[in-house]
Symmetry: C2
Subunit: 514 residues, 2 copies
Amino acid sequence: MRRADEDLLAELKARLLEIGDLGGTAAVLSWDQSTYMPKGGAGARGRQSALMSRLMHERRTDPGLGRLIEQLTPYALSLPPDSDDAALISVTGRDFAKAVRVPTSFVERLSAHSSASYDAWTRARQDNDFAGMRPLLERTLDLSCEYAEFFAPYQHVIDPFIDDMDEGMTCASVRSLLAELRAELVPMVRAICDRPATDDSCLHGAFAEGPQLDFGLSVATAYGYDLDRGRLDRTFHPFCTRFSAGDIRITTRVYPDDVTQALFSTLHEAGHGIYEQGVGAALDGTPLGSGTSAGVHESQSRLWENVVGRSLGLWQHYYPKLRATFPDQLGNVPLEAFHRAINKVERSLIRTEADEVTYNLHIILRFDLELEMLERRLAVKDLPEAWRARYQSDLGISPPDDRDGCLQDVHWFSGCIGGAFHSYTIGNVLSAQFYAAALRAHPEIPAEIAAGRFGTLKAWLEQNLYRHGRKFKADEIVRRATGEAMTIRPYMDYLGGKYGALYGLPQPQSPAAQ
Amino acid sequence: MRRADEDLLAELKARLLEIGDLGGTAAVLSWDQSTYMPKGGAGARGRQSALMSRLMHERRTDPGLGRLIEQLTPYALSLPPDSDDAALISVTGRDFAKAVRVPTSFVERLSAHSSASYDAWTRARQDNDFAGMRPLLERTLDLSCEYAEFFAPYQHVIDPFIDDMDEGMTCASVRSLLAELRAELVPMVRAICDRPATDDSCLHGAFAEGPQLDFGLSVATAYGYDLDRGRLDRTFHPFCTRFSAGDIRITTRVYPDDVTQALFSTLHEAGHGIYEQGVGAALDGTPLGSGTSAGVHESQSRLWENVVGRSLGLWQHYYPKLRATFPDQLGNVPLEAFHRAINKVERSLIRTEADEVTYNLHIILRFDLELEMLERRLAVKDLPEAWRARYQSDLGISPPDDRDGCLQDVHWFSGCIGGAFHSYTIGNVLSAQFYAAALRAHPEIPAEIAAGRFGTLKAWLEQNLYRHGRKFKADEIVRRATGEAMTIRPYMDYLGGKYGALYGLPQPQSPAAQ
């Protein structure tokens, strides 16, 4: 390495570290807003967050940064393509090329608007007040369309958003994935819903909140979520956030009458957290130092929440402990009944509470509604009605109000309309694909899970996925880890095997782990 | 107002708002570090805080800001001197003149060091490890001396620190205040300690932490601390912090074997919080938008903690409620015994737990040790021994270890050595002076307090003190509110009256409220 390149690289890293620290600071502001902030803090918090966004964006688009990247490109090309430095220069270059398309003033406006919108939404959802949110959501749609134009010409107006979440994917590739899934899921849902409904009344009752939180956290830490570098707090809409490699926090919510909410939302966010905590320490403070895409990230939350967290094996180990925590409520409920209850399939209204089989139907309709709004075929004022119509046609039920309808998810109310949901389905698909690959390498994993041990699985994921951070794009990570491109096959095999058994459907040839 | 002045003023306010928002953001980082941050977050948090300090200082010292102030000075002089705008321009000018003396690089170094030092101290105090802290504290002393030099020539090396905390005061004026107090306190302490010791065993026992926190908060909110614009959290060393006018938080600590710790530290911090919440809304986002000096601030924490919070009247109303909260522990303890116990005077080791009478002796010795260190007459390595010697000579007891000795207070371990403690004594003195003035205006206040009502007192303080923020310097606030300069007379009358009665000493002529 030439001395000049060394100096340039050091300058690049110093600039990136400052951007990273501004990002971590912005994340602290946002975490606090969603966990502890009193309502009087909202106005100033919006300004503070917008300021951080502006300072970050100014630095991300600084011409000096562009020059550095240019000057370092020959050096990057001289390195092995999978070296950290080559990846750093290349990812920074891609980020820069995207960032300079967006004016700083827009970033600041969007941040201030998002903060105000989120604040209003927390009340509007409670009050079932779509009318009150409508002007804010219309502005969100305007801002979203304005954002997309910075990336014109595009094939589809949603493409820039999809690329932000899952670099390399497009409206066309997402549509084709969703269509492929839909073709197999619709008959599966129909077949299951034709069977007698599962009794999940054992999950409902009076469950003390403290023990619920403690139990979920005990499983999360057994998975490997490290509390020396993280913590769990309560919020309205659970999330995981990264302040730095040593401080990656998760949040959850608790329903006093439902033992599954805190448990599975904790395991879901812990999956995100374990991914972030597993990113190589050397990548911290650079753009490589976090998960590679929204879809791959979601694959880890879904893997730990569902593939592992709702498996019979896990509950062979943990159900006695849960029963000891809630002896009055679960003392007479056998393991198998509990396992069936937490895997109950039904046509329902709330995405975050939906079962694994119907879940993607919730996503597909949201994706379609995003397309309609972005293409200006659907006006914001008509969203509640369109929402109800799609739930009726796709899931056979329709929400009684907007609280459980189009106001239920935070996404459109705290950011852009566009690219907000498709990654969940990519995550579902990849969760099974990664898990199947891990099983091929380590067939002993299910037995370990049934003994409450998760080290082999976590180590495989760390080795093949987590440690790389953003060094490789999603498609390359998937190929490296699983030996093939993204495919719905392992996911459909997993669903078919597990739910076929639970609901007495015809079994597929290669059942995945249950 | 000329159009040009209007534009200049708008630009000034926009700049100040950004500085304020950076300050609020830095405060969020610091609050989180002291309440919820996992230990793995310390390294990056230090960088993030230092970055905020740098960004703030760059803006505070921007030559453009200096030009604006200069251009606006004729306009300021044309205004009534007590108008908001005149005060804004004048205070901003004073702040600017001080800020430009300190290089940005120093501010960033000091912030990073303070963060690392605080982090190490939280462990060192627990482990009684002064040796481990010594190199960090030596660096703190070096940085402190470096800081003072930016303000050379000075009369005394501690003057720049005192001016930062209590603008207008100097080593000479603080020394004279402390000497005057000491002359009256030493015989008073001796007279009281010659009397039979108070039995305060009723305060010690097993007190559940949740009810302790709830009770303290119930009194704080009855005082007027507004939870829509604030909240209470637990920490290691209690503090109050301001993120914005709508978000002013307090913290406390709980001892499961001592019912007074959470209670009085909550009331103390609530006093700070009520002051900040009372600052005029129009001043928010400007340098005028917070309390005027450390000493005046402390007067409010001590007024609500001690003058009100440890008065017999308050407990006439609240003791039945406290007894209902802890019936097993306090059921057989009469009000008068409880009131005597929470006002027990004794020679003790821990400043934050010291009674009102001996408290200032803890301050005086710390101030003297600061002087000795800053004058380089006392080396950091000799601090533990010097601490023990002063406790022995001034208070007649000596700490068994450094945990309860020179490691007990956060101040020197999270900032500079210099100006850290004298404001507490100014606060004690002023708490009685303000309260006496309020009583002259509203003799009904003690009767209201005994009925659990605090509105008249709070309104008087708001009117005469809180709403002005930093508009007036401390000496002017004191004169406006009390009709005279700062004087120890009301404070000594208050102590003499209250403790004379409690300990059967000769009564002064004009007893203050008990």
